[in-house]
């Protein structure tokens, strides 16, 4: 797969070289293509998603592994895992028709009135944009991260936990000082797994990110990610250079996720053994 992508993106690699990654031009009319904006968009939306998803996932995993009464664990775990089974396009559609009006009418004005002096929260809130895309991604990766973390928590040996409780620790202290350090690698693996998902997610992001080629400090501004650029423009691309630039974007995305997921696997593996 990598070979084919590499071969087919030769025209654009020859034409732009490394500046492909640093140029913010993306103009089919003049034949200038640079990947900076989609790459940055992909990274920012992923960072937003992880920012919200990591604490929530740890909370859910903690609930499922330690707090919930046994009869509740099964159904609850299943419900969270079912969230992962909903097709991503449904998330995207829901994000566009349900979440983004809420963002535009309530959340963004509120954020703006309190935090508007920070450039991150400046500019008009239109509902669609980086922040909304990040939130939809958050919802999508929570099930993955939390179910892996739950398994990691459940693998912590019982005697270890009980001796900490025996010393008079509260539940939170056991989690913070025993369970999280014990499963550190597993948790890192889980986070990277979710990150890999978020990086490559296409449909959900395409709906809500806004698809525009402007680099802006504001999280309210529409942007673009690699996957949504591909989804929107690939069938419409004419000319060798345009197509091969898009293919090179795909190659970049594939390599980024490959490295991320590779690290995730290595960490999860070393935990098992």
């Amino acid at each position: 797969m990598v070979v084919v992508l590499w071969q087919q993106s030769q025209p654009s690699i020859h034409a732009f070289g490394w500046s492909f990654l640093t140029s913010r031009q993306w103009n089919p009319v003049t034949g200038q293509f640079g990947a900076l904006i989609p790459v940055v968009g992909t990274l920012i939306s992923t960072i937003i998603a992880l920012f919200f998803a990591i604490p929530i996932s740890i909370g859910i995993a903690l609930f499922l592994a330690e707090l919930a009464p046994p009869w509740l664990r099964g159904p609850f775990g299943t419900a969270i895992e079912l969230l992962a089974a909903i097709p991503s396009i449904v998330y995207g559609m829901w994000g566009l028709f349900v979440l983004s009006p809420i963002m535009a009418n309530y959340v963004q004005p509120w954020l703006k009135s309190w935090l508007g002096f920070i450039p991150l929260f400046a500019g008009p809130g239109m509902g669609i944009g980086m922040l909304t895309a990040g939130l939809v991604l958050t919802l999508m990766i929570i099930p993955f991260i939390s179910s892996v973390i739950r398994d990691v928590f459940l693998m912590v040996p019982q005697p270890l936990k009980e001796s900490a409780y025996g010393l008079g620790c509260t539940t939170w202290e056991v989690v913070r000082d025993v369970m999280i350090p014990y499963g550190r690698k597993g948790i890192a693996g889980a986070v990277f797994l979710g990150m890999g998902r978020a990086l490559g997610e296409t449909m959900a992001v395409t709906f809500v990110i806004g698809n525009s080629y402007h680099l802006s400090w504001s999280l309210f501004a529409p942007g673009n990610s690699i996957a949504s650029t591909l989804a929107n423009e690939f069938t419409e691309a004419d000319g060798k250079l345009y197509t091969s630039s898009l293919i090179e974007l795909g190659l970049v995305l594939f390599l980024i996720t490959f490295i991320t997921l590779g690290l995730a696997q290595l960490w999860l593996r070393s935990k098992e053994s």
Partner: protein
């Protein structure tokens, strides 16, 4: 001091419960929206008619439903045999460098971005054949299914204990009879579950179909032409400015979500019963 610790503890536990119930709440919220908005679109013509041009009343997604069904079945027909064979290889003879590499790569491919698979199949199939086709769509779905099927097969085979293998071998059965007659029976239900889950997953995939199967407003005559499918139709309709089309898109979303969830729940129940036994 103790009071502070107890307070922090209670706070964290409360946040944790909140997170868990929040997750459940979102699940219900999304499902409720999909059901409420989609239910209005579901009627007889939704299942029996071709899409209508915007502004015209009526119209359905019959061709897309058939298209999704055909492509998913074809993908399964391609991926399941290869996936199971690969899984058998990994479980039985995979304890060497090649097996480890294959396992590592397929674990990564399971969550690789599906849109890149679409680009790949576009380059390999669509460009060489010169046109978009249902076959290309099915192949890209199959590529996504393959690692899922092979990994589940491997795990299920490994769960079959050595006692059963050894007793079969001790009765004088050759290795292949042991695999085909004994181990595969024990692992069968588990593998079937894995396959069902993989099918459910690809049925809801959109990204790899965007530039392989494309879309079409007509009935297909063969798999060799652009083919309508629910998810791409959903994408196009939801992005369109027409209200009728939005309604249809919600209907499509309802159909896909329900199908996927029902398969998931059924397979989970089956697995649960097996484990308890």
């Amino acid at each position: 001091m103790i009071r502070r610790r107890q307070f922090v503890n209670a706070l964290v536990l409360a946040i944790s419960c909140l997170a868990a119930f929040g997750g459940l709440f979102v699940l219900i919220w999304i499902l409720a929206d999909v059901v409420v908005k989609g239910a209005g679109a579901i009627n007889w013509s939704f299942f029996s008619q071709l899409p209508a041009p915007p502004g015209m009343p009526g119209g359905g997604l019959a061709n897309a439903i058939v298209g999704t069904f055909l492509m998913t079945v074809t993908a399964a027909a391609i991926a399941v045999p290869f996936g199971i064979m690969a899984g058998v290889y990994l479980a039985e003879f995979g304890d060497n460098f090649m097996g480890k590499t294959a396992r590592f790569l397929s674990d990564i491919l399971v969550s690789a971005p599906s849109i890149v698979v679409g680009v790949f199949v576009y380059l390999v199939m669509v460009r060489t054949m010169g046109h978009f086709s249902g076959w290309a769509g099915a192949v890209s779905l199959a590529i996504i299914m393959l690692p899922v099927v092979s990994r589940t097969t491997e795990e299920m085979l490994k769960m079959v204990g050595p006692e059963m293998r050894e007793s079969a071998l001790a009765l004088g059965a050759p290795y292949w009879r042991m695999m085909a007659g004994v181990v595969s029976r024990a692992a069968g239900p588990g593998i079937a579950t894995g396959v069902m889950l993989a099918v459910a997953r690809v049925a809801g995939e959109t990204a790899p179909l965007l530039f392989t199967a494309l879309n079409s407003p007509y009935w297909m005559h063969s798999m060799n032409e652009p083919m309508a499918n629910l998810t791409v139709v959903l994408f196009n309709y939801a992005m369109s400015p027409y209200d009728d089309w939005h309604t249809l898109a919600w209907g499509a979303a309802l159909l896909i979500t329900m199908a996927v969830l029902i398969v998931n729940i059924i397979t989970r129940l089956m697995l649960g019963r097996k484990r308890r036994r």
